[in-house]
């Protein structure tokens, strides 16, 4: 299969076109994932654009995004496939007389009676797809094993039907908020990408790209204030999405130049804990 990307730089440029500003690491790993045909495990604090990365890659390559949201209690009938019992039942009742047992048996366990769930759908798709397995750390360790076959071989084994192999290798993204250690087996099959808070320059560019009507000056100030706040010892540091919300608020309020007073009043958009807000307000205004 032809590679999707020419070079690391082309990944970067492509992502930039769909308004996602990647750094070297992100673009490099996405490029490698395509070349090696391996899934990417994206890890990092909440709100740093992990899910957005998958969406943007799909957008950029013109692929369909198939998303599997993980949660505790997810099982194979929700993730892989399920037999359509009702339809099978109808089929049996429809012609009781004619068919012999083996015919019906072969018939009701055919592809027509299979309900595809996200993972199987991604494998069987004819058009290019990007598979996003979101918050994979929420499923139990045992359920993780479900993913292993699909991640390394790009195939699904269904006892009644045999093995379904992928027609094309989809780009796979797994995201994790790191609430638990993922199993070695899963990690080994993936490329690992840690997405951290962006540095100041990238954050400024993100603000400029994503928020309409923000001036260079304001974006610069926003990025700098956010960086200062992140250096404090907080319960929850502001994420990129919160930075963007804050920038939008400031633009709406018609603020061109942030004063300490205004910063303090709008801090609750950036920070979600009362203790954090108090701490940041103190740091920003007293400044000694």
């Amino acid at each position: 299969m032809a590679p999707r990307f020419e070079s690391v730089q082309s990944v970067r440029d492509g992502l930039r076109k769909v308004n996602y500003l990647a750094d070297d690491g992100i673009a490099g790993v996405a490029f490698l994932a395509d070349r090696l045909g391996k899934p990417i495990l994206v890890e990092g604090p909440a709100g740093t654009g992990k899910t957005q990365l998958a969406k943007s890659i799909a957008d950029m390559t013109g692929a369909r995004l198939i998303r599997l949201q993980c949660y505790e209690g997810l099982d194979e009938s929700k993730a892989l496939y399920e037999w359509n019992y009702k339809k099978q039942l109808l089929r049996i009742q429809a012609d009781r007389k004619s068919d012999s047992w083996s015919e019906i048996h072969d018939d009701i366990f055919g592809p027509d009676f299979l309900l595809t769930r996200p993972l199987l759908e991604a494998i069987t798709a004819d058009d290019p797809v990007v598979l996003l397995i979101d918050e994979v750390d929420r499923v139990e360790v045992e359920t993780e094993a479900l993913l292993l076959e699909i991640l390394s071989e790009y195939q699904v084994s269904i006892p009644e039907l045999g093995t379904i192999t992928a027609k094309q290798i989809p780009l796979v993204f797994l995201t994790s908020n790191n609430t638990r250690e993922l199993s070695e087996a899963l990690k080994r099959r993936c490329l690992f990408l840690h997405v951290d808070y962006p540095d100041m320059h990238r954050e400024k560019e993100i603000v400029l790209a994503k928020v309409e009507g923000v001036s260079q000056n304001l974006a610069d100030q926003i990025a700098r204030i956010v960086r200062s706040i992140r250096q404090l010892d907080l319960k929850k540091a502001p994420s990129v999405s919160e930075t963007l919300d804050w920038a939008r608020t400031l633009v709406l309020l018609g603020i061109e130049h942030i004063e300490a007073e205004q910063a303090k009043e709008t801090l609750h958009i950036l920070l979600k804990y009362q203790t954090d807000i108090a701490k940041a307000a103190k740091e920003l205004s007293v400044d000694k």
Binding site: D24, L32, H194, D287
Partner: protein
């Protein structure tokens, strides 16, 4: 290349990173697709295939620097260049590098006076000019570090020498003044604060450049393997509490937060899944409707096992303070997993500090208060476990109940005072469990004035807790 890679990977393993064979193969495969001249891409390719845990990234970076620092386009030095050649080449490179990045001014860097150099540095820091900063870092190392090939001195020594000569401590003040001049007059406090952060960030960058430069030269002198060995640092979870440097302490603190989150999630899950509760009649009937009223799928209530009550008694005298602090932080970070947590600290007197943690969400603040405000000195401020335990029994002994788990933290170095181990015996009879956590290596126990063995006979177990990994394992067992 193959030799280099296998050396690199075995060094990663030596540093404690779990690199499997398939990951090794993946890395080999990955670098085929990456243009080798692109050092960053190369690094990320290796990182993505070999490092699967963000906490290990720093160790990876160090090893990477050591093995591949001489292989970027700018630092292309033949592997077998002997030391003399190396210095000359370095010199030439400096000239040519500065030549194209800085023009004539940089080319003459060798002849600059120290004052001129400081002025250049100021300028570079003000403008945030990376190329100039790198060139200056090289120049500074060359000039001040006094490095000689073959000298058996560590990199820290050279770093210290360079930094002392550069006088970076006064730099933030000077930079502030320069910024003030730039806008012509006063900055608002907010702006001032932002400027300061910016400057600190840049100075930190500059320091890193210097460090990298020193490392580069040392590697060229001694070879990658020898260098990697001296730079090998334990992973955050393996850092010993008792010997952690300030930097490592910072790293530990950072590692603590995600760890507690993970631990709490795991404990909550364990509690929920370990066994089934009694039959939930209501839910069973509700679900039986989809089977035509046949209760085919019995439902069970979530089990709600009693959460243990915890009493932490910690020695906070100098030698083990860091350990006590960490354990307290960890315990309070997951206090939701216990029905009640009470904590006491002692040196030779004992004081209850539970209240410091109440009503505050900021654990480090509370710990700070514990260290400064708790009344723990009775006579001379040297550990006296015996007296502390005696007072504990007198004052708080009646609060120990059959649900209580008592945690004793310390190295049991009692300065040859009376042990009063009967207290522990009494406590054990009333409490559910008594555990002792000792931050010293097991081989030091019961040597000198350590009497942990004497206490141990009355506890349910003494655990060695030298690092995060051991502490985590213990806490998981506890809850």
């Amino acid at each position: 290349m193959l030799d280099l890679m296998s050396g690199f990977i075995s060094e990663l393993r030596n540093a404690g990173l779990p690199v499997s064979l398939t990951e090794n193969l993946d890395a080999m495969e990955a670098i085929k697709h990456i243009p080798l001249e692109d050092r960053d891409a190369f690094k990320y390719a290796l990182g993505a295939t070999l490092v699967k845990n963000n906490a290990h990234w720093r160790s990876f970076e160090t090893v990477f620097e050591v093995y591949f620092s001489l292989r970027g386009p700018e630092y292309a030095i033949a592997d077998d260049a002997d030391a003399g050649d190396f210095w000359r080449e370095m010199q030439e490179q400096l000239q040519s590098q500065d030549g194209d990045s800085r023009g004539a001014a940089g080319g003459a860097m060798d002849q600059m006076t120290p004052e001129e150099m400081m002025a250049m540095l100021m300028k570079a820091l003000m403008a945030g000019d990376q190329a100039l900063m790198r060139a200056l870092a090289r120049q500074a190392v060359q000039r001040f570090a006094g490095m000689e090939p073959g000298r058996p001195v560590g990199g820290t020594y050279y770093l210290y020498r360079t930094l002392r000569n550069l006088d970076l401590d006064s730099m933030p003040e000077k930079l502030m003044e320069a910024s003030r001049d730039e806008v012509g007059g006063q900055l608002t406090p907010l702006e001032e604060r932002l400027e300061r952060d910016e400057h600190e960030h840049r100075i930190e960058q500059f320091k890193q450049e210097i460090e990298a430069e020193i490392r580069r030269r040392l590697v060229a002198d001694r070879g990658a393997e020898a260098m990697a060995k001296t730079l090998r640092k334990p992973l955050p979870e393996d850092v010993e509490f008792m010997h952690a440097s300030r930097d490592e302490m910072q790293g530990l603190k950072k590692a603590l937060q995600p760890l507690t989150r993970k631990l709490a999630a795991r404990l909550a899950r364990k509690r929920k899944h370990e066994r089934r509760g009694p039959l939930d009649f209501r839910s069973t009937v509700r679900h039986s409707l989809s089977y035509g009223g046949v209760p085919a799928d019995p439902r069970f209530k979530y089990p709600r096992p009693a959460k243990p009550e915890l009493m932490v008694v910690a020695d906070i005298s100098g030698s083990v303070a860091a350990f006590a602090r960490f354990t307290l932080m960890l315990v309070y970070a997951i206090q939701g997993q216990f029905s009640k947590v009470r904590s006491y600290v002692f040196i030779d007197g004992i004081d209850e500090v539970t209240d410091f943690f109440k009503g505050t969400e900021d654990i480090s603040e509370a710990i700070h208060k514990v260290n400064t405000e708790a009344d723990v000195i009775w006579v001379d401020g040297h550990s006296d476990y015996g007296h502390a335990f005696e007072v504990f029994w007198e004052k708080y002994g009646r609060d120990v109940g059959p649900k209580t788990t008592v945690l004793l933290l310390g190295d049991a170095r009692n300065n040859y005072h009376a042990s009063q181990s009967w207290v522990i015996k009494e406590i054990r009879q009333k409490a559910r469990h008594v555990y002792w956590l000792n931050p010293e290596p097991r081989s030091y126990w019961n040597t000198g004035d350590s009497i942990v063995g004497e206490y141990a006979t009355h506890t349910d177990g003494v655990y060695e807790c030298r690092n995060m990994r051991q502490l985590e394992a213990f806490v998981e067992k506890l809850a």
